[in-house]
Protein backbone atom coordinates (compact mmCIF):
# COMPACT_ATOMS: atom_id res chain seq x y z
CA UNK A 1 0.00 0.00 0.00
CA UNK A 2 1.73 3.08 -1.15
CA UNK A 3 0.63 6.47 -2.39
CA UNK A 4 2.77 6.42 -5.48
CA UNK A 5 5.18 3.83 -6.74
CA UNK A 6 7.30 3.53 -9.86
CA UNK A 7 8.54 0.04 -10.36
CA UNK A 8 11.59 -0.76 -12.44
CA UNK A 9 10.74 1.66 -15.25
CA UNK A 10 12.51 1.19 -18.55
CA UNK A 11 12.12 3.29 -21.68
CA UNK A 12 13.99 2.69 -24.90
CA UNK A 13 14.13 5.10 -27.83
CA UNK A 14 15.36 3.12 -30.76
CA UNK A 15 18.28 1.28 -29.27
CA UNK A 16 18.94 3.89 -26.63
CA UNK A 17 17.75 3.38 -23.05
CA UNK A 18 16.72 6.78 -21.76
CA UNK A 19 15.43 5.34 -18.52
CA UNK A 20 16.80 2.02 -17.41
CA UNK A 21 15.28 0.39 -14.36
CA UNK A 22 14.34 3.24 -12.07
CA UNK A 23 12.18 2.48 -9.02
CA UNK A 24 11.01 4.75 -6.26
CA UNK A 25 8.14 5.34 -3.89
CA UNK A 26 6.54 8.56 -2.81
CA UNK A 27 4.59 8.98 0.43
CA UNK A 28 1.50 11.07 0.68
CA UNK A 29 2.18 14.63 1.71
CA UNK A 30 5.89 14.81 1.05
CA UNK A 31 8.02 16.71 -1.43
CA UNK A 32 10.07 14.24 -3.37
CA UNK A 33 13.00 15.61 -5.30
CA UNK A 34 14.28 14.05 -8.47
CA UNK A 35 17.72 15.19 -9.53
CA UNK A 36 20.29 14.39 -12.12
CA UNK A 37 22.39 16.20 -14.67
CA UNK A 38 21.03 17.32 -18.01
CA UNK A 39 20.06 14.40 -20.18
CA UNK A 40 19.96 11.94 -17.32
CA UNK A 41 16.35 10.97 -18.02
CA UNK A 42 14.33 13.00 -15.53
CA UNK A 43 11.92 14.44 -18.05
CA UNK A 44 11.54 11.05 -19.72
CA UNK A 45 10.61 9.69 -16.31
CA UNK A 46 7.96 12.38 -15.96
CA UNK A 47 6.62 11.57 -19.38
CA UNK A 48 6.36 7.94 -18.38
CA UNK A 49 4.56 8.71 -15.16
CA UNK A 50 2.13 11.20 -16.67
CA UNK A 51 1.20 8.98 -19.59
CA UNK A 52 2.87 10.82 -22.47
CA UNK A 53 5.12 7.82 -23.04
CA UNK A 54 4.33 4.20 -22.56
CA UNK A 55 7.12 2.46 -20.67
CA UNK A 56 9.02 -0.26 -22.50
CA UNK A 57 8.73 -2.22 -19.28
CA UNK A 58 7.98 -1.54 -15.65
CA UNK A 59 4.91 -0.40 -13.81
CA UNK A 60 3.55 2.74 -12.24
CA UNK A 61 1.05 2.69 -9.39
CA UNK A 62 -0.86 5.66 -8.09
CA UNK A 63 -3.15 5.21 -5.11
CA UNK A 64 -3.11 1.46 -5.69
CA UNK A 65 -4.05 1.76 -9.30
CA UNK A 66 -1.81 0.82 -12.09
CA UNK A 67 -1.53 3.84 -14.37
CA UNK A 68 1.26 3.14 -16.84
CA UNK A 69 -0.05 3.15 -20.38
CA UNK A 70 -3.12 5.19 -19.51
CA UNK A 71 -3.75 8.33 -21.57
CA UNK A 72 -2.53 11.53 -19.90
CA UNK A 73 -6.03 12.92 -19.49
CA UNK A 74 -7.12 9.75 -17.67
CA UNK A 75 -4.17 9.99 -15.34
CA UNK A 76 -5.02 13.60 -14.72
CA UNK A 77 -8.54 12.62 -13.75
CA UNK A 78 -7.10 10.29 -11.11
CA UNK A 79 -5.47 13.28 -9.50
CA UNK A 80 -1.98 13.20 -10.91
CA UNK A 81 -0.95 16.28 -12.86
CA UNK A 82 2.28 17.48 -14.35
CA UNK A 83 3.89 20.70 -15.49
CA UNK A 84 6.25 21.04 -18.42
CA UNK A 85 9.88 22.00 -18.30
CA UNK A 86 9.45 24.24 -21.30
CA UNK A 87 6.30 25.97 -20.16
CA UNK A 88 3.30 25.47 -22.37
CA UNK A 89 0.88 28.27 -21.66
CA UNK A 90 -2.23 28.36 -23.83
CA UNK A 91 -0.81 31.45 -25.40
CA UNK A 92 -3.74 33.24 -26.91
CA UNK A 93 -5.97 32.81 -23.90
CA UNK A 94 -5.94 34.97 -20.80
CA UNK A 95 -4.43 33.71 -17.59
CA UNK A 96 -7.87 33.33 -16.16
CA UNK A 97 -9.08 31.30 -19.13
CA UNK A 98 -6.00 29.13 -18.96
CA UNK A 99 -6.84 28.26 -15.41
CA UNK A 100 -10.56 27.91 -16.06
CA UNK A 101 -9.82 25.36 -18.76
CA UNK A 102 -7.94 23.38 -16.14
CA UNK A 103 -10.55 23.91 -13.44
CA UNK A 104 -13.17 22.21 -15.57
CA UNK A 105 -11.50 19.04 -14.40
CA UNK A 106 -13.21 19.68 -11.10
CA UNK A 107 -16.55 20.98 -12.23
CA UNK A 108 -18.53 21.07 -15.43
CA UNK A 109 -20.18 24.41 -14.83
CA UNK A 110 -18.49 27.54 -15.98
CA UNK A 111 -19.45 29.48 -12.87
CA UNK A 112 -18.01 26.86 -10.58
CA UNK A 113 -14.91 26.44 -12.72
CA UNK A 114 -14.36 30.17 -12.71
CA UNK A 115 -14.71 30.27 -8.93
CA UNK A 116 -12.14 27.51 -8.55
CA UNK A 117 -9.87 29.18 -11.06
CA UNK A 118 -9.98 32.53 -9.32
CA UNK A 119 -9.33 30.90 -5.99
CA UNK A 120 -6.37 29.02 -7.37
CA UNK A 121 -5.05 32.12 -9.08
CA UNK A 122 -5.18 33.96 -5.79
CA UNK A 123 -3.64 31.00 -4.00
CA UNK A 124 -0.74 30.97 -6.40
CA UNK A 125 -0.36 34.72 -6.44
CA UNK A 126 -1.18 35.42 -10.08
CA UNK A 127 -4.09 37.72 -9.31
CA UNK A 128 -2.35 40.79 -10.64
CA UNK A 129 -2.18 39.46 -14.20
CA UNK A 130 -5.28 37.33 -14.52
CA UNK A 131 -6.61 39.27 -17.50
CA UNK A 132 -3.37 39.24 -19.45
CA UNK A 133 -2.84 36.98 -22.42
CA UNK A 134 -0.64 34.10 -21.41
CA UNK A 135 1.82 34.84 -24.17
CA UNK A 136 2.67 38.23 -22.72
CA UNK A 137 3.68 36.92 -19.30
CA UNK A 138 7.27 36.99 -18.02
CA UNK A 139 9.03 33.68 -17.64
CA UNK A 140 8.48 33.76 -13.89
CA UNK A 141 4.79 34.26 -14.30
CA UNK A 142 4.60 31.65 -17.00
CA UNK A 143 6.11 29.11 -14.65
CA UNK A 144 3.67 30.22 -12.01
CA UNK A 145 0.81 29.89 -14.47
CA UNK A 146 1.95 26.38 -15.25
CA UNK A 147 1.68 25.49 -11.56
CA UNK A 148 -1.57 27.37 -11.12
CA UNK A 149 -3.12 25.49 -13.98
CA UNK A 150 -1.95 22.20 -12.60
CA UNK A 151 -3.34 23.07 -9.20
CA UNK A 152 -6.68 24.05 -10.66
CA UNK A 153 -7.29 20.49 -11.77
CA UNK A 154 -7.48 19.57 -8.09
CA UNK A 155 -4.57 17.14 -7.97
CA UNK A 156 -3.44 14.86 -5.20
CA UNK A 157 0.00 14.54 -6.69
CA UNK A 158 1.72 17.18 -8.78
CA UNK A 159 4.85 16.69 -10.86
CA UNK A 160 6.88 19.88 -11.21
CA UNK A 161 9.43 19.86 -14.00
CA UNK A 162 12.25 22.38 -13.65
CA UNK A 163 10.03 25.03 -12.22
CA UNK A 164 12.94 27.18 -11.15
CA UNK A 165 15.04 27.28 -14.26
CA UNK A 166 15.40 30.82 -15.50
CA UNK A 167 14.02 32.47 -12.38
CA UNK A 168 16.01 35.15 -10.63
CA UNK A 169 16.79 34.68 -6.94
CA UNK A 170 13.85 36.66 -5.65
CA UNK A 171 11.51 34.78 -7.97
CA UNK A 172 13.06 31.57 -6.77
CA UNK A 173 12.28 32.48 -3.21
CA UNK A 174 8.71 33.23 -4.15
CA UNK A 175 8.45 29.90 -5.91
CA UNK A 176 9.80 28.06 -2.93
CA UNK A 177 7.16 29.76 -0.84
CA UNK A 178 4.51 28.67 -3.31
CA UNK A 179 5.65 25.07 -3.30
CA UNK A 180 5.63 24.99 0.47
CA UNK A 181 2.12 26.43 0.41
CA UNK A 182 1.04 23.73 -2.01
CA UNK A 183 2.47 21.08 0.24
CA UNK A 184 0.71 22.63 3.20
CA UNK A 185 -2.58 22.38 1.33
CA UNK A 186 -2.13 18.63 1.32
CA UNK A 187 -0.85 18.01 -2.17
CA UNK A 188 2.04 15.65 -2.66
CA UNK A 189 4.83 16.92 -4.91
CA UNK A 190 7.45 15.28 -7.06
CA UNK A 191 9.89 17.89 -8.26
CA UNK A 192 12.55 17.68 -10.90
CA UNK A 193 15.02 20.41 -10.34
CA UNK A 194 18.41 21.40 -11.45
CA UNK A 195 19.06 24.16 -8.98
CA UNK A 196 20.37 22.18 -6.07
CA UNK A 197 19.84 24.99 -3.62
CA UNK A 198 16.10 24.66 -4.16
CA UNK A 199 16.04 20.91 -3.91
CA UNK A 200 18.08 21.06 -0.75
CA UNK A 201 15.76 23.54 0.86
CA UNK A 202 12.39 22.04 0.10
CA UNK A 203 12.66 18.32 -0.50
CA UNK A 204 11.88 15.76 2.13
CA UNK A 205 13.62 13.05 0.19
CA UNK A 206 15.71 13.12 -2.95
CA UNK A 207 16.26 10.55 -5.65
CA UNK A 208 19.29 11.04 -7.89
CA UNK A 209 19.65 9.50 -11.33
CA UNK A 210 22.24 9.58 -14.06
CA UNK A 211 22.27 7.86 -17.45
CA UNK A 212 18.75 6.69 -16.74
CA UNK A 213 19.72 4.77 -13.65
CA UNK A 214 19.39 5.36 -9.97
CA UNK A 215 22.46 6.79 -8.30
CA UNK A 216 21.17 7.09 -4.79
CA UNK A 217 18.19 8.07 -2.69
CA UNK A 218 17.94 9.69 0.71
CA UNK A 219 17.59 12.96 2.52
CA UNK A 220 18.93 16.00 0.71
CA UNK A 221 22.07 16.19 2.71
CA UNK A 222 22.75 12.50 2.28
CA UNK A 223 22.34 12.73 -1.42
CA UNK A 224 24.40 15.83 -1.97
CA UNK A 225 27.30 14.38 -0.06
CA UNK A 226 27.22 11.26 -2.19
CA UNK A 227 30.37 11.35 -4.32
CA UNK A 228 28.55 9.89 -7.29
CA UNK A 229 26.15 12.79 -7.30
CA UNK A 230 28.83 15.38 -6.99
CA UNK A 231 30.71 13.75 -9.80
CA UNK A 232 27.65 13.66 -11.99
CA UNK A 233 27.14 17.34 -11.46
CA UNK A 234 30.57 18.83 -11.46
CA UNK A 235 32.60 16.34 -13.37
CA UNK A 236 34.55 13.45 -12.01
CA UNK A 237 36.70 13.86 -8.93
CA UNK A 238 35.82 17.41 -8.16
CA UNK A 239 36.99 16.97 -4.61
CA UNK A 240 40.35 15.95 -5.74
Amino acid sequence: MSFFRADNLVKHFGGLAAVNGVSFEVNEGEIFGLIGPNGSGKTTLFNLISGFYKPTSGEVYFMDRRIDGLKPHKINRLGLVRTFQVVRPLKRMTVEDNVIAAAFAQSGSLREARRIALETIEFCGLGRCKDMLAKSLTIGDRKRLEITRAMATGPKLILLDETFAGLNPSEQDEAIGLIRKIKASGVTIIIVEHIMKVIMTISDRVHAINFGQTLTEGTPSQVVSNPGVVEAYLGEAYHA
Binding site: N38, A165, M196, V224, G235
Partner: protein, 234 residues
Protein backbone atom coordinates in the same frame (compact mmCIF):
# COMPACT_ATOMS: atom_id res chain seq x y z
CA UNK B 1 39.35 39.02 -30.77
CA UNK B 2 35.71 38.51 -29.66
CA UNK B 3 34.29 41.27 -27.57
CA UNK B 4 30.80 41.01 -26.14
CA UNK B 5 29.91 44.26 -24.51
CA UNK B 6 26.94 44.92 -22.25
CA UNK B 7 24.49 42.73 -24.11
CA UNK B 8 20.78 42.54 -23.21
CA UNK B 9 18.80 39.76 -24.83
CA UNK B 10 15.08 39.13 -24.86
CA UNK B 11 12.89 36.22 -25.82
CA UNK B 12 9.82 38.07 -27.01
CA UNK B 13 9.25 40.55 -24.23
CA UNK B 14 11.07 38.41 -21.70
CA UNK B 15 14.57 39.50 -20.79
CA UNK B 16 17.05 36.68 -20.34
CA UNK B 17 20.43 38.38 -20.39
CA UNK B 18 21.41 41.51 -18.55
CA UNK B 19 24.48 43.45 -19.60
CA UNK B 20 26.59 40.42 -20.32
CA UNK B 21 30.15 41.17 -21.33
CA UNK B 22 32.99 38.86 -22.12
CA UNK B 23 36.04 38.65 -24.29
CA UNK B 24 37.87 35.83 -25.98
CA UNK B 25 41.43 36.38 -27.05
CA UNK B 26 43.43 34.73 -29.81
CA UNK B 27 43.88 31.00 -29.34
CA UNK B 28 42.30 31.14 -25.95
CA UNK B 29 39.91 28.65 -24.35
CA UNK B 30 37.26 30.53 -22.43
CA UNK B 31 34.73 28.60 -20.39
CA UNK B 32 31.24 29.88 -19.69
CA UNK B 33 29.81 28.27 -16.59
CA UNK B 34 26.50 28.41 -14.83
CA UNK B 35 23.55 26.30 -13.86
CA UNK B 36 20.73 25.32 -16.16
CA UNK B 37 18.78 28.29 -17.40
CA UNK B 38 21.46 30.75 -16.39
CA UNK B 39 21.79 31.99 -19.95
CA UNK B 40 24.91 30.25 -21.23
CA UNK B 41 23.38 28.94 -24.41
CA UNK B 42 21.62 32.22 -24.93
CA UNK B 43 24.93 34.02 -24.78
CA UNK B 44 26.43 31.71 -27.34
CA UNK B 45 23.41 31.97 -29.61
CA UNK B 46 23.66 35.71 -29.42
CA UNK B 47 27.26 35.58 -30.51
CA UNK B 48 26.40 33.39 -33.48
CA UNK B 49 23.56 35.66 -34.48
CA UNK B 50 20.60 33.36 -33.84
CA UNK B 51 19.43 35.89 -31.29
CA UNK B 52 19.83 39.60 -31.68
CA UNK B 53 20.72 41.74 -28.66
CA UNK B 54 18.50 44.68 -27.85
CA UNK B 55 21.34 46.56 -26.29
CA UNK B 56 25.09 46.31 -26.27
CA UNK B 57 27.33 45.17 -29.08
CA UNK B 58 29.36 42.22 -30.22
CA UNK B 59 32.56 42.72 -32.10
CA UNK B 60 34.79 40.17 -33.72
CA UNK B 61 37.98 41.21 -35.38
CA UNK B 62 36.54 44.64 -35.90
CA UNK B 63 33.25 43.40 -37.40
CA UNK B 64 30.01 44.20 -35.63
CA UNK B 65 28.43 40.73 -35.42
CA UNK B 66 25.15 41.99 -34.02
CA UNK B 67 24.52 43.81 -37.27
CA UNK B 68 24.84 40.95 -39.73
CA UNK B 69 22.44 38.06 -40.29
CA UNK B 70 23.07 34.76 -38.60
CA UNK B 71 24.12 32.97 -41.75
CA UNK B 72 26.95 35.46 -42.36
CA UNK B 73 28.54 34.92 -38.96
CA UNK B 74 30.37 31.80 -40.03
CA UNK B 75 31.92 33.75 -42.89
CA UNK B 76 33.76 35.80 -40.33
CA UNK B 77 35.43 32.75 -38.91
CA UNK B 78 33.13 31.76 -36.10
CA UNK B 79 31.76 28.23 -36.00
CA UNK B 80 29.02 27.29 -33.59
CA UNK B 81 28.66 23.69 -32.45
CA UNK B 82 25.16 23.82 -31.02
CA UNK B 83 23.77 22.10 -27.99
CA UNK B 84 22.31 18.72 -28.82
CA UNK B 85 24.67 18.42 -31.81
CA UNK B 86 21.98 19.32 -34.33
CA UNK B 87 23.48 17.15 -37.01
CA UNK B 88 21.67 16.71 -40.31
CA UNK B 89 20.55 13.27 -39.32
CA UNK B 90 19.54 11.98 -42.73
CA UNK B 91 22.80 13.04 -44.33
CA UNK B 92 25.98 11.03 -44.09
CA UNK B 93 28.80 11.98 -41.78
CA UNK B 94 30.82 13.16 -44.71
CA UNK B 95 28.01 15.32 -46.01
CA UNK B 96 27.62 16.81 -42.58
CA UNK B 97 31.26 17.70 -42.61
CA UNK B 98 30.95 19.21 -46.07
CA UNK B 99 28.07 21.31 -44.82
CA UNK B 100 30.49 22.84 -42.37
CA UNK B 101 32.74 24.08 -45.12
CA UNK B 102 30.40 26.18 -47.23
CA UNK B 103 32.27 29.43 -46.82
CA UNK B 104 34.67 29.99 -49.69
CA UNK B 105 37.88 29.95 -47.65
CA UNK B 106 36.89 26.67 -46.10
CA UNK B 107 35.60 25.23 -49.33
CA UNK B 108 38.95 25.63 -51.00
CA UNK B 109 40.63 23.63 -48.27
CA UNK B 110 37.80 21.14 -47.95
CA UNK B 111 39.67 17.88 -48.59
CA UNK B 112 42.57 18.97 -46.51
CA UNK B 113 40.50 20.02 -43.52
CA UNK B 114 38.48 16.87 -43.78
CA UNK B 115 41.65 14.85 -43.58
CA UNK B 116 42.59 16.71 -40.46
CA UNK B 117 39.16 16.14 -38.90
CA UNK B 118 39.34 12.45 -39.70
CA UNK B 119 42.75 12.29 -38.09
CA UNK B 120 41.31 14.00 -35.08
CA UNK B 121 38.36 11.60 -34.95
CA UNK B 122 39.35 8.32 -36.62
CA UNK B 123 35.93 6.93 -35.73
CA UNK B 124 34.34 9.37 -38.13
CA UNK B 125 36.46 8.16 -40.98
CA UNK B 126 35.18 4.65 -40.39
CA UNK B 127 31.61 5.87 -40.43
CA UNK B 128 31.82 8.55 -43.06
CA UNK B 129 29.20 6.93 -45.31
CA UNK B 130 26.76 6.35 -42.50
CA UNK B 131 23.76 8.65 -41.93
CA UNK B 132 24.57 10.87 -38.98
CA UNK B 133 21.38 9.84 -37.24
CA UNK B 134 22.67 6.30 -36.82
CA UNK B 135 25.78 7.30 -34.88
CA UNK B 136 26.12 6.87 -31.15
CA UNK B 137 25.97 9.93 -28.93
CA UNK B 138 29.71 10.30 -28.66
CA UNK B 139 30.25 9.89 -32.36
CA UNK B 140 27.55 12.44 -33.05
CA UNK B 141 29.31 14.91 -30.83
CA UNK B 142 32.52 14.26 -32.68
CA UNK B 143 30.79 14.79 -35.98
CA UNK B 144 29.30 18.03 -34.72
CA UNK B 145 32.66 19.33 -33.60
CA UNK B 146 34.21 18.12 -36.82
CA UNK B 147 31.53 19.96 -38.78
CA UNK B 148 32.37 23.11 -36.88
CA UNK B 149 36.06 22.67 -37.60
CA UNK B 150 35.43 22.26 -41.31
CA UNK B 151 34.74 25.99 -41.46
CA UNK B 152 38.38 26.60 -40.51
CA UNK B 153 37.19 28.90 -37.79
CA UNK B 154 39.25 31.30 -35.76
CA UNK B 155 36.76 30.88 -32.94
CA UNK B 156 34.82 27.75 -32.11
CA UNK B 157 31.69 28.05 -29.97
CA UNK B 158 31.08 24.78 -28.17
CA UNK B 159 27.76 24.35 -26.41
CA UNK B 160 27.65 21.51 -23.91
CA UNK B 161 29.86 19.10 -25.85
CA UNK B 162 29.95 16.49 -23.08
CA UNK B 163 26.22 16.46 -22.44
CA UNK B 164 24.84 12.96 -22.09
CA UNK B 165 28.17 11.32 -22.72
CA UNK B 166 29.77 8.73 -20.49
CA UNK B 167 32.69 10.02 -18.38
CA UNK B 168 35.17 8.29 -20.62
CA UNK B 169 33.81 9.86 -23.77
CA UNK B 170 33.52 13.23 -22.08
CA UNK B 171 37.17 13.03 -21.23
CA UNK B 172 37.97 12.27 -24.85
CA UNK B 173 36.03 15.33 -25.93
CA UNK B 174 37.94 17.56 -23.55
CA UNK B 175 41.18 16.16 -24.83
CA UNK B 176 40.14 17.01 -28.37
CA UNK B 177 39.19 20.53 -27.35
CA UNK B 178 42.67 20.98 -26.12
CA UNK B 179 44.12 19.61 -29.35
CA UNK B 180 41.96 21.94 -31.38
CA UNK B 181 43.07 24.85 -29.28
CA UNK B 182 46.67 23.87 -29.71
CA UNK B 183 46.09 24.14 -33.45
CA UNK B 184 45.43 27.82 -32.89
CA UNK B 185 41.65 27.91 -32.70
CA UNK B 186 40.09 29.94 -29.94
CA UNK B 187 37.30 28.18 -28.09
CA UNK B 188 34.34 29.52 -26.18
CA UNK B 189 33.13 26.56 -24.17
CA UNK B 190 29.82 26.18 -22.41
CA UNK B 191 29.92 23.25 -20.04
CA UNK B 192 28.33 21.65 -17.07
CA UNK B 193 31.41 19.72 -16.23
CA UNK B 194 32.89 22.49 -14.15
CA UNK B 195 35.95 20.65 -13.05
CA UNK B 196 37.05 19.58 -16.48
CA UNK B 197 36.28 22.90 -18.03
CA UNK B 198 38.22 24.82 -15.48
CA UNK B 199 41.09 22.43 -15.92
CA UNK B 200 41.51 23.11 -19.60
CA UNK B 201 40.41 26.72 -19.97
CA UNK B 202 42.56 29.78 -19.79
CA UNK B 203 39.83 31.95 -18.41
CA UNK B 204 36.24 31.41 -17.34
CA UNK B 205 33.07 33.32 -16.64
CA UNK B 206 30.20 32.33 -14.39
CA UNK B 207 26.67 33.28 -15.36
CA UNK B 208 23.83 33.33 -12.89
CA UNK B 209 20.30 34.19 -13.87
CA UNK B 210 21.39 36.01 -16.97
CA UNK B 211 24.07 38.08 -15.31
CA UNK B 212 27.82 37.66 -15.12
CA UNK B 213 28.76 37.10 -11.53
CA UNK B 214 32.31 35.82 -11.59
CA UNK B 215 35.25 35.71 -13.89
CA UNK B 216 38.86 34.78 -13.67
CA UNK B 217 41.42 32.25 -14.77
CA UNK B 218 40.67 28.57 -14.53
CA UNK B 219 42.84 28.14 -11.49
CA UNK B 220 41.30 31.09 -9.66
CA UNK B 221 37.81 29.83 -10.17
CA UNK B 222 38.66 26.25 -9.29
CA UNK B 223 39.61 27.50 -5.90
CA UNK B 224 36.51 29.62 -5.54
CA UNK B 225 33.85 27.96 -3.40
CA UNK B 226 31.22 30.18 -4.94
CA UNK B 227 31.42 28.19 -8.13
CA UNK B 228 30.47 25.06 -6.33
CA UNK B 229 27.64 26.91 -4.71
CA UNK B 230 26.33 28.08 -8.01
CA UNK B 231 26.05 24.48 -9.11
CA UNK B 232 25.23 22.45 -6.06
CA UNK B 233 23.52 25.00 -3.92
CA UNK B 234 25.72 24.22 -0.96
Amino acid sequence: MLKVDGVDVFYGDMQVLWEVSLTVGDAEIVALLGSNGAGKSTTIKTVSGLLKPQAGQIEFDGVRLDQIPANRIIHNGIAHVPEGRRLFTEMTVEENLIMGSLRPEAKRARTETMGWVYDLFPRLRERRKQPAGTLSGGEQQMAAIGRGLMAKPKLLLLDEPSLGLSPLLAMEIFRIVKVINDAGVAVLLVEQNVKRSLAICHRAYVLENGRMTLSGTGAELSANEKVKEAYLGI
